[in-house]
């Protein structure tokens, strides 16, 4: 049994989004990028299971990290599947397992939970590196 408090398990399927690609080329890692990238499309069944309305915030917890994004209704969506454009948000969720054949980030297992937290800012998703 699931309840909104326990969240629900999803397979996040990532895909290319041409509008996101254009925004990235034109404006870089801007608010416009965040608006187009910080989105997960869910089925009506999953939105109801999570007690969420269209455009509510949802926290996704993947194997490597978590992000807060906007949940949008996908009327043609399938229960248990979340659709997200491939972006810095999905890069935060995805992990790399050496045992796999190295194809990563297309299907990510994640738990979705309703949340009041703010959408994860793009700046928080950039990897900082100490130069050698």
């Amino acid at each position: 049994m699931t309840s909104p408090e326990n969240g629900t398990l999803l397979t996040i399927v990532t895909h290319e989004n041409v509008h996101l690609a254009i925004v990235k080329l034109r404006d870089g890692w801007s608010d416009a990028y965040q608006k187009k990238a910080a989105v997960v499309h869910l089925s009506r069944a999953d939105l109801e299971k999570l007690g969420l309305k269209d455009n509510a915030r949802v926290e996704l917890m993947g194997p490597a990290g978590s992000v807060v994004v906007i949940a949008k209704l996908d009327a043609a969506g399938e229960a248990g599947v979340g659709l997200m454009p491939a972006s810095l948000y999905t890069n935060r969720l995805a992990s790399y397992e050496s045992s796999s054949s190295a194809l990563i980030g297309k299907h990510i297992e994640a738990r979705a939970m309703p949340t009041e937290k703010a959408i994860t800012p793009v700046a928080d998703l950039m990897v900082r590196r100490n130069r050698a």
Partner: protein, 409 residues
Amino acid sequence: MISKTLVCTGCGCLCDDIQVEVDGARLGQIENACAKGAAYLQAAFNPELRAKGSIRGQGCSPEAAIDEAARLLSRASRRLILGLDNSTLETQSVAIDLARKLGAVIDDASSFSYGPLIERIIKKELPTCSLSEVKDKADLLLYWGANPTATHPRHLSKYTYYAYADFNPAGWYPKVTLSSIDVRQTELTTMSQPAFRIKPGGDSELISGLLRESSATNDQARKLSDLIQKSRLCVIFCGLGLVHSLDGDLSAFARMVQMLSRSIRVAVVPMISETNMLGFSQSLHQQTSYVNSVSFAGSVSHGHQFSFLEQVHNHAADCILIVGSDPFSTLPQSLLGKLQGVDIICLDHFTTLTIGTADIVIPSALPGVECRGSMVRLDGDGVALAEPIKDGFPTQEAILRQLLEKVQP
């Protein structure tokens, strides 16, 4: 203001009919380009978006950055060269020479994307065909795990569905069947007649059904089989959705194509987004018999351990030269965190997240806009880039030649 025709290097389509008006450093009207290609060309003329030479965050001339890069590469003991999927064949050739001289590992994004498919096409284990043949002869276009409206916006209009040579008398609908297999509804699936909707990871089951390997051959497999058997030339455009779903193991898919090819002609075309990934794989294969993940340390060797992901995961490299690639915006952040302390040299035309973290940045000319060269389109046809329409940056080929001269293995 002068008018020129160029090849767009914004995606794997390499559209060769882009008309632009240029006035010195200013780009005027752009015709025939898709929105993605136009944004790409406009970015080329926006100084804010162009990479600038730097050494550990301090601005410098490209020459100083090249000298420092040569010093770091010479000092390192475990070098790795990554990228080159958007570089010309000429640049790729010099990069392979550089890897050989340094005894370095060389890899590109195909090792975590289209590599398994490209390898089978190059080794002729999967049949392919050119896009011009598609336009003239194909009567079934099957997009599998691919959505060109998002990745290659002019693919349908310039090369396949809308470009079809033979129209019916009404002149509205091409006499070709457009079909697709996907896990979600897309612009393409709504156009497809029919569209096959499968569950994530359901590609294997569909292939098994087509191969009749399972007693419970499903309805979708039967319908798909009937559709394919009715065609004369079925072109399967394979996207990352298919390659990922099969976890890179394309043996069953290859058996399926072989089986279908007994009664009709089947061709496979990878929907590569990068402009010259196929060119890199071909060049490396010609020299080493491998399409990616090659080490030149001692003799030529190949394996999963030489893929970029494994190299990073295992802290195997101490100096990485990245050419025209942006792993920091495309790969898991948990993995990239393992690059602390590694020297990173980045050679690119645009400002990217990878450039923001690199020790050395060397700005380079944008192929197709600021330099000539050759590329291999996703269907295997060679494309010569047009005369450059602006200058101001050294070419990647020239930079790598300087490094090749200066490095001490």
